[in-house]
């Protein structure tokens, strides 16, 4: 049974349709990447899924229960990190976690142990006694993640969890999120594709308030990403290289060609044809190649392709 399930989910704000018949489901124990461009409806969907906003229409079930009817019951079983977590500036990090523990009805001993463990997990042990008012954005984000884990949630909702972090902090938090796989279901919204690539096993792409596609990451790449070849040329034959690249665009088996210095990236729509003809044409053109490689298509290629198609359809 899916842990999160929506069908025909709609949410309107006046004339603005933020969610427009959103359908998807998330299986238990997965790290679900909820991907979409800015304004696609990601935050609105999370607010509805956590019970902070009411749906205008459709069905929303979290942990098998209707979120509208059983909001309080579900609240004890989920964790939530907002995009820009806000705290009481006069509290210390330890006091905040202790307060959250009290809300969840933990005993004094449980709160003490849990708070210390979570401060350690968030890398805030040294600053646990400092007031949150003096925390940097990255520290707040890590504290936000810690407070979302106080009750050992069955489902963890993360809204852009690493958007405010530096590369080192980002890596740590993504590793932490990845380590939760199997322990709880993580529902993570982001517009940063590399983050999804790093930790998510299932991906849903949302645009204009509806799900464009939803599938395991590898399946998505296999299904949608066109094969890509990268060819690097020695700078001594730069003139021939530009002409050759331009000539490639007219080939029926080539989808797109992009040149960046001495590297050309060729997206093809017929991989067998490309394998036979691409290298041969480069040799015929007299190029001196330093690298020829068929690279693994990335989630970014899929995302751009799907969102691009959406845009064309909308246009």
């Amino acid at each position: 049974m899916p842990v999160i399930y929506t069908q025909g989910l709609r949410k309107t704000f006046g004339r603005v349709q933020a969610l427009n018949g959103l359908d998807f489901s998330v299986e238990p124990g997965t790290v679900f990447g909820f991907l979409g461009p800015n304004g696609a409806g990601k935050t609105t969907a999370i607010r509805v899924l956590t019970g902070l906003a009411r749906p205008t229409g459709g069905c929303v079930r979290v942990l098998g229960e209707d979120i509208v009817a059983s909001r309080r019951g579900i609240a004890g079983r989920i964790g939530y990190l907002p995009e820009e977590p806000a705290f009481y500036p006069w509290m210390t990090a330890y006091e905040l976690l202790d307060y959250i523990g009290r809300i969840f009805g933990l005993t004094a001993e449980e709160r003490k142990v849990r708070s210390k463990k979570l401060l350690d997990l968030a890398g805030l042990t040294q600053t646990g006694g400092r007031r949150i008012g003096g925390f940097s954005r990255g520290m707040r984000q890590r504290l936000g993640l810690a407070q979302a884990l106080v009750n050992r949630p069955e489902v963890l909702f993360l809204d852009e969890p690493v958007s405010a972090m530096d590369p080192a902090g980002r890596k740590e938090v993504l590793e932490l999120i990845g380590s939760l796989r199997g322990q709880c279901t993580v529902f993570m919204s982001t517009h940063i594709l590399t983050d999804v690539d790093r930790v998510c096993d299932t991906v849903g792409i949302i645009n204009h308030g509806r799900m464009v596609v939803e599938a395991p990451r590898e399946e998505l790449i296999a299904r949608y990403a066109l094969p890509v070849f990268e060819i690097e040329n020695d700078s001594s034959s730069a003139g021939k290289f530009a002409a050759w690249a331009e000539n490639l665009r007219s080939m029926s088996w080539v989808a797109t060609v992009s040149v960046n210095g001495t590297v050309v990236r060729v997206v093809v729509n017929n991989v067998e044809e490309a394998k036979k003809k691409l290298l041969a044409s480069a040799i015929r053109a007299g190029l001196i190649l330093t690298r020829y490689e068929m690279i693994r298509p990335s989630l970014e290629d899929v995302f751009l392709q799907l969102i691009g198609e959406e845009g064309k359809e909308a246009g």
């Binding site: 607010r47 019970g51 902070l52 009411r54 806000a86 009481y88 006069w90 006091e95 307060y99 809300i103």
Partner: protein, 252 residues
């Protein structure tokens, strides 16, 4: 348990942000100054040019003047403090996002609201208790000892009067998302209640009459204002119920 956790956090917050200290300091100042002002204003008048002539027209100050000063000052500044302390209580938390962070957890919205009201009540009861004790002491030194039970009742009525404005401002803070708008709405209600209180025949049913009752108690009168007390309790109850009904329907 959740209520106690929320109440503890609210009181702790008021302590850490010095708001509790400010309320106590303001009430203490008026508790100390009111009997002093009642006693020494005629003396101060004598120091002014032609002051002796004016001072001769002013009757000899009594304990009633000290109590009247105390009630007037503490109630006026009590209302101002009630507005300032309460206008951001809910509005600011909604605006900043702390309400969402807490209410996504299993904390009922009613508990969130009522803990705020109870914490503000604790703050004002501490402030009024200290002010009452200070005023009692100076009144005892400068005039005579007021009757203790009547003094306690007087301060209880003052507390209830202030609590009416705390509850009304909490309602405004819940309705609005901005503490400035909440403060404006609450100030409008203060004007409305004051204006209505001036209408003959209606004032005796409104919270302002609690202060008159307090003055009667200090003067040894047996006159009472029970309708005003019950209506004040009713206003508090209605404001809290209204705030809860609105808050339950709001999206965060």
């Amino acid at each position: 348990m959740i209520f106690l956790a929320a109440l503890r956090k609210e009181i702790f917050g008021q302590w850490r942000s010095y708001r509790l200290l400010v309320v106590v300091a303001v009430f203490l100042a008026f508790g100390l100054l009111s009997p002093l002002a009642a006693k020494f204003i005629p003396e101060l008048m004598k120091l002014m040019p032609n002051g002796k002539e004016i001072a001769r027209l002013i009757p000899q100050p009594t304990i009633t003047d000290a109590v009247a000063q105390y009630l007037k000052n503490s109630s006026q500044f009590g209302v101002v403090l009630a507005l300032l302390m309460t206008m951001g209580a809910v509005a600011q938390e909604k605006d900043k996002g702390t309400a969402a962070l807490v209410l996504v957890k299993p904390m009922p919205r009613s508990v969130f609201l009522w803990a705020k009201f109870a914490a503000l009540g604790v703050t004002f009861i501490i402030g009024i208790a200290i002010a009452g004790a200070a005023c009692y002491y100076y009144t005892l030194i400068l005039f005579r000892a007021p009757d203790v039970s009547r003094w306690l009742a007087l301060n209880g009525l003052l507390f209830l009067f202030v609590l009416v404005y705390v509850a009304l401002t909490l309602l405004c803070s819940t309705v609005s998302r901005s503490q400035v708008v909440a403060g404006g709405l609450a100030f409008g209600l203060v004007i409305l209640l004051s204006g209505t209180g001036a209408i003959p025949g209606i004032g005796k049913f409104l919270p302002g009459q609690l202060l008159a009752w307090g003055a009667w108690l200090a003067a040894g009168s047996k006159e009472t204002a029970w309708p005003a007390l019950w209506i004040s309790v009713g206003i508090i109850g209605a404001a809290l119920a209204g705030a809860w009904a609105v808050f339950e329907r709001q999206e965060l």
